[in-house]
Symmetry: C2
Subunit: 244 residues, 2 copies
């Protein structure tokens, strides 16, 4: 059951805060909602939240470029949601590894897999609730990089309502098995000089998807250097798959 708690409107975009159970989210929609439109679920990265600039920026592109509804929720332990003692321990361990110059991968892979177990049922309930919104209709996409790939891959692997997904920037360790069950079209972004994720690891996750249509986009640069034009590419990917 979805409740809208606030709304604002600017530049042709309606922005509505909502809550499903105890999960808060934001739904961005075209100001003109005379025609029902498809939905893109979007996940934020680790340590950020539903209104992080990458989220608001990508939502604006998706609304303007595809007329989509775009929903982002705070992941467990992120944004407006409380951290458990487990969250606190893992975040402290990540900061400790980072400060010590140790690889972050083992902590991120393990903690993100834990968060995915909590987040997948939440995404399912959120999608159930969003589908009751009258102006939302049609196929559903999922768009999530970094931690949102760690949550999105197991979610999409078990959620037949999602028909196209953009993933990227994660390790295969905890995800390859779920990825092998995914057959929908995928666009996968990786950074060619990622200081955290070895090139072979990024390629291994891309290879794991069982989709016959999947595209790898690799760009030079470090983990956080993903070029902005990949956001435009994601919009066109969703237009191709959710609008035709």
């Amino acid at each position: 059951m979805l409740q809208f708690t606030a709304q604002t409107s600017a530049n042709g975009v309606l922005e509505r805060d909502f809550i499903v159970g105890d999960v808060p989210g934001v739904l961005w929609s075209p100001a003109d909602r005379s025609e029902p439109a498809p939905l893109v679920l979007m996940g934020h990265g680790g340590g950020t939240h539903k209104r992080w600039p990458a989220m608001t920026g990508r939502a604006a592109l998706l609304v303007a470029g595809g007329g989509f509804h775009v929903a982002v929720v705070d992941a467990p332990g992120h944004g407006d949601r409380p951290r458990t003692a487990h969250d606190e321990r893992e975040v402290a361990e990540l900061f400790r590894a980072r400060a010590a110059g140790e690889p972050e991968g083992p902590v991120v892979v393990r903690y993100n897999a834990h968060l995915a177990e909590r987040a997948v049922p939440e995404w399912r309930a959120t999608l159930d609730a969003l589908e009751e919104v009258p102006e939302i209709a049609g196929p559903v996409g999922f768009y999530g990089l970094n931690m949102a790939t760690a949550i999105g891959v197991p979610f999409v692997a078990t959620e037949p309502r999602i028909t196209a997904a953009v993933f990227g920037l994660h390790w295969p360790d905890a995800l390859a098995e779920a990825a092998r069950k995914i057959t929908i079209p995928i666009e996968y972004a990786m950074q060619w000089d990622d200081e955290h994720i070895p090139r072979e690891s990024g390629l291994a996750l891309f290879d794991a998807f069982a989709s016959t249509e999947k595209t790898l986009h690799a760009n030079p640069g470090r983990h956080k250097d993903l070029p902005r034009f990949e956001s435009d590419s994601a919009v066109r990917f969703f237009v191709r798959h959710l609008r035709s």
Copy 2:
């Protein structure tokens, strides 16, 4: 010196045959030429010619999506141009290798390198001539896969007027050295299951480009299975680099 020899017009596109020296080409342009527009030089693949469906299709996308002028010429020994005895020998050798189930790579790499030596000066003369056309102005792009990458990489490496290029589907053997001199933005397409070009070879050519902005697009499928949406991606790449 460029001479137009024929012209037709349909669907908002003006199509003009031209000749520069003994090199015949086609120039596709927006029907509305009240504003000068940038030029994209496009090369065809081995065994095809300037009006091959991939050329006319991509030209239509570039004119409609970017308002570009698009020029394609017949490569040496292709289309309306005569084959030398050397061409005949190499084509026969390629067909022999193919029929025998031998790898095509060694023949293609060697023959394309030979063709590039003949074609690069022709491209330079063609560009000189096209720049005299009053409605052509601004930066210039190069778009060529397969054999057109074998010709385009040495051309672009020595041609400062080209400021953005889409390449793909070739071996690094004869091209990596020239690619290391290229610093303009590059979009590079490869087929993940290419039966002729091993994956490591495709990645090695991508890696060779010295460009700080370069994007690898890898798709599943065999050598000729490049998805159509990569043509749309190329249009957007050129819009980003030649129109902003």
